[in-house]
């Protein structure tokens, strides 16, 4: 960095961007590990951090609303990632829960809450509007927490996901219908600008066209495009194009008045079966995590503590009432749909809070004069408070579930959804070595998740029908996406030595229980692997060299079985010396040149051979002593 960089940043930049960014990041770095240590999950950590930054406590970040709008994009990214995990077939299977369970949840919860509003003496229009707005749950909190706890693939997790998806769908008609609830005489102006200015049929056509273009582009355009980008070999280019894809889809959807989250979800589903799925996941994941964290913090910062202090009883009572109603309604609906008890509990406890869409809808309702400001204020506080309470509600759920397990002693285990994630074997590197292992596994009906960093290789094997993903297996996020937490075996078959050791370090650090089978290119690599505690090692050329040795012996007239046994005896001896010499390796001064190292290694191996020559070789079936005894010769 020489003189080109401005030494001083403009004061405005510091104020508008860097200072809040600094405090947000600092708060996250301090509070999230603390919350996790206390077993509260990251979401509560973010919320508390946000509350501390907010005007009520430290007042360090100014107005949180703008930040929240920006950070809401984290939700959009999260739905893209969720989409990547959901194959079209799985989505189709979920259509029942989405429209059945989800539809009932929104309708029944909305109406019960509306009745509650009428009972409290609110005009019915306001009650209905508030009821349906509060029926939304927080996709961000639920999916983030479920992901952390690994509950996405349980029956309850799938049901929760279905309901959230329906809520996302329901936002569109709700936005359209809210103006109808404007109090008569309030004179709500329905503005017709931009997209709204088109006639209805044109709007519908445009929306259909947008959805269709996402599907078609995802299917036919994006894969070749990603392939070209992957070929370029520039990492950040892939990241850039992944971000471009998500932001572009979001903009397109917003332009035609559809939910950006839904649109990117759809894009994710379309790409769920592509070879770039894991790579896309690992590229978007950090952005999503960061934005969601900031989003949660902005929710925390946005909690209007002044208002809560002003009318604490009312707000706390409404919050508890809303949470209890949402929980009860979902539990009853779950029972009606015959979900088993643990799944019902999971869905209802998870979805009991009011979600981030409520902020948007409350805003719209206030502007359209459907709800007066003196009701929007408390309802916003209720929404934020219910989100902040979610981790506590979930703690109650976990306690309940744990005590139930203890009582019945019968594990409440739910069936796992079979998915790429649950393959028992992960193969890193699908070249000369890896693909043989993979094909052998396949022949035995063992499913493998394959990762390779060579775009050509990925192309070739995809053409042959193998499920293979493009990516760098040393990255923890990619390992996670490939299901390393559930897999039993990790077959490390890449030929790049430094990369191979990097992967070993990463796997052993993050998944210490995952067993590694490693390909070693030669002795030095084998020593390095052994030093890292990997004991199942195959030197890639050893077996073919031995086969060649056997062929040489046969040519010289050795009997076939004798030659083969000789090779096997040699192999056992050689493997033993590798393990022995690995312990000595590394004592050498580091400056010994690589060539000298190799000579030294060979020298030691040959010495070990000499030592063995003194030992009897293969004396199986040797009856010499018997012959001597029969002849009466001395033994």
């Amino acid at each position: 960095m020489t003189g080109i960089m401005p030494v001083m940043l403009a004061a405005a930049e510091v104020d508008h961007f860097l200072r809040p960014a600094f405090f947000y990041l600092l708060a996250a770095v301090i509070s999230v590990p603390l919350a996790k240590r206390l077993g509260l999950g990251s979401v509560l950590g973010y919320l508390i951090a946000g509350a501390c930054l907010g005007p009520a406590v430290l007042n360090l970040v100014g107005d949180a609303k703008n930040v929240m709008h920006f950070a809401e994009f984290g939700v959009v990214m999260m739905l893209f990632l969720v989409g990547l995990e959901v194959k079209p077939g799985v989505l189709w299977k979920l259509r029942g829960p989405i429209f059945g369970l989800g539809g009932c949840q929104v309708l029944v919860t909305g109406m019960v809450l509306a009745l509650l509003g009428v009972w409290m003496g609110w005009p019915w229009q306001q009650s209905v509007a508030a009821g349906f707005i509060l029926s939304m749950s927080s996709t961000a909190i639920v999916l983030q927490t479920m992901g952390e706890k690994g509950q996405m693939h349980t029956a309850g997790g799938q049901a929760s996901f279905a309901v959230l998806l329906f809520q996302d769908l329901a936002v569109i008609p709700l936005l359209a219908l809210l103006p109808l609830l404007a109090a008569p005489g309030a004179g709500a102006e329905v503005t017709r600008e931009g997209f709204g200015a088109f006639p209805v049929y044109a709007q519908v056509l445009l929306r259909l066209g947008a959805v269709l273009s996402v599907v078609v582009a995802g299917r036919y355009l994006l894969r070749p495009a990603f392939r070209i980008i992957a070929h370029s070999g520039i990492r950040e280019l892939f990241t850039a194009s992944a971000l471009l894809l998500v932001i572009g889809t979001a903009l397109l959807m917003e332009a035609v008045g559809l939910s950006a989250a839904l649109g990117t979800f759809l894009a994710g589903v379309v790409l769920a079966e592509s070879e770039f799925r894991h790579e896309l996941e690992s590229n978007i994941e950090p952005f999503k995590g960061l934005l969601l964290g900031i989003f949660f913090m902005s929710v925390g910062a946005g909690i209007d503590f002044a208002l809560i202090r002003f009318q604490p009883v009312q707000i706390v009572l409404i919050t508890i009432g809303v949470v209890v109603v949402k929980l009860g309604v979902l539990h009853a609906i779950g029972r009606a749909f015959r979900y088993p008890r643990p799944a019902r509990d999971l869905v209802s406890f998870y979805l009991a809070q009011v979600g981030e869409f409520a902020f948007v809808l409350l805003n719209v309702a206030e502007q359209g004069r459907i709800l007066p400001p003196d009701k929007v204020g408390p309802l916003t506080a209720v929404t934020a408070l219910s989100m902040a309470l979610t981790p506590l509600v979930l703690l109650i759920h976990d306690r309940l579930a744990a005590s139930k397990c203890n009582k019945t002693a019968e594990p409440d285990r739910e069936a796992d959804e079979i998915d790429e994630k649950h393959n028992p074997v992960i193969i890193a590197g699908y070249g000369r070595v890896g693909h043989i292992v993979g094909r052998l596994m396949n022949m035995q009906g063992v499913r493998c998740t394959v990762i390779d960093l060579d775009a050509d290789q990925v192309d070739l094997f995809r053409k042959l029908g193998t499920k293979i993903f493009y990516g760098d297996a040393s990255r923890e996020d990619l390992l996670h996406a490939a299901g390393a937490a559930e897999a039993k075996l990790f077959v490390l078959a890449i030929d790049d030595e430094p990369k191979s050791l990097e992967i070993v370090d990463s796997v052993r650090r993050h998944y210490p229980n995952l067993h590694i089978l490693a390909r070693a290119s030669g002795r030095i690599h084998a020593y390095d692997l052994l030093k890292r505690g990997v004991h199942d090692i195959w030197r890639e050329t050893l077996d073919s060299s031995l086969e060649m040795g056997i062929a040489a012996m046969r040519r010289l007239g050795f009997p076939a079985y004798e030659a083969r046994r000789a090779a096997r005896v040699f192999r056992a001896h050689d493997e033993a010396t590798v393990h022995e010499l690995a312990d000595l390796w590394g004592d050498e001064p580091k400056y010994i040149a690589a060539v000298r190292q190799r000579i030294e290694i060979l020298n030691r191996a040959v010495e070990a051979d000499r030592a063995t020559l003194a030992m009897p070789a293969d004396d199986a079936w040797d009856t010499e002593s018997l012959t001597r005894e029969a002849r009466g010769e001395p033994a």
């Binding site: 046994r565 096997r568 199986a620 079936w621 009856t623 018997l626 005894e629």
Partner: protein
């Protein structure tokens, strides 16, 4: 588990051979029974030596350390599966197991525990297999004799093709009891020499 037994060195060595154990319900059950008896060492030869590279010194050391050797296997072509024959060819070396200086196995006991698909009735002069199992085990008996070992009648589980689960349970139970009696030196080799098999035999006092 008999109190005090766990302190001692194991006395019984079961050498088990079945090349496709996943397909054999009976041998799986009997193997589990053997593994459940304290003081018994069980070696699955196909599992240990899938490449037939038998570690002769190791196997000889195990033989030295045990007093009762059990060959447990299905009756393939009226004999043992290939790996056990390979084991015999290599491990029972001249100078170790037999010959002037080969006395390592002297005084030890050898028992065969065998499963046959066909029923017991087919293993007699009127049946389709003509010979009894005991008769067809002559090579094993003579091997034992040449090595100075005491050969006991076999333990037989026959008719496995059509065997009901209850009966298999009974056999498994019987097998564990036999192993316990062998371990505790409750079976007198001379007293049982003439029996066709050891099934249901209740050992008396010590040998």
């Amino acid at each position: 588990m008999v109190a005090g037994m766990t302190e001692k060195e194991p006395r019984v060595l079961v050498l088990f051979a079945h090349p496709a154990l996943r397909k054999s319900r009976c041998n799986r059950r009997l193997l589990a029974a053997a593994r459940g008896v304290a003081g018994v060492t069980v070696r699955d030869l196909y599992e240990e030596y899938s490449d037939f590279m038998i570690d002769v010194p190791r196997e000889q050391e195990l033989l030295r350390a045990h007093d009762v050797i059990v060959f447990q296997h299905p009756f393939y072509w009226y004999s043992c599966p290939a790996i056990l024959k390979e084991w015999m060819d290599l491990v029972l070396e001249h100078g170790f197991a037999y010959g002037e200086s080969g006395r390592a196995l002297h005084g030890k006991h050898l028992v065969s525990a065998i499963t046959t698909g066909g029923a017991a009735e087919s293993y007699r002069s009127e049946g389709m297999n003509v010979f009894t199992v005991r008769q067809m085990l002559a090579p094993f008996e003579q091997t034992a004799r040449l090595c100075g070992m005491k050969y006991l009648p076999p333990f037989l589980v026959q008719g496995t093709f059509t065997m009901k689960p209850d009966l298999l349970e009974e056999h498994a139970h019987d097998y564990s009891r036999l192993l316990v009696e062998l371990r505790d030196e409750k079976i007198d080799a001379d007293a049982v020499r003439g029996l066709p098999n050891l099934n249901g035999f209740q050992g008396g006092a010590g040998i």
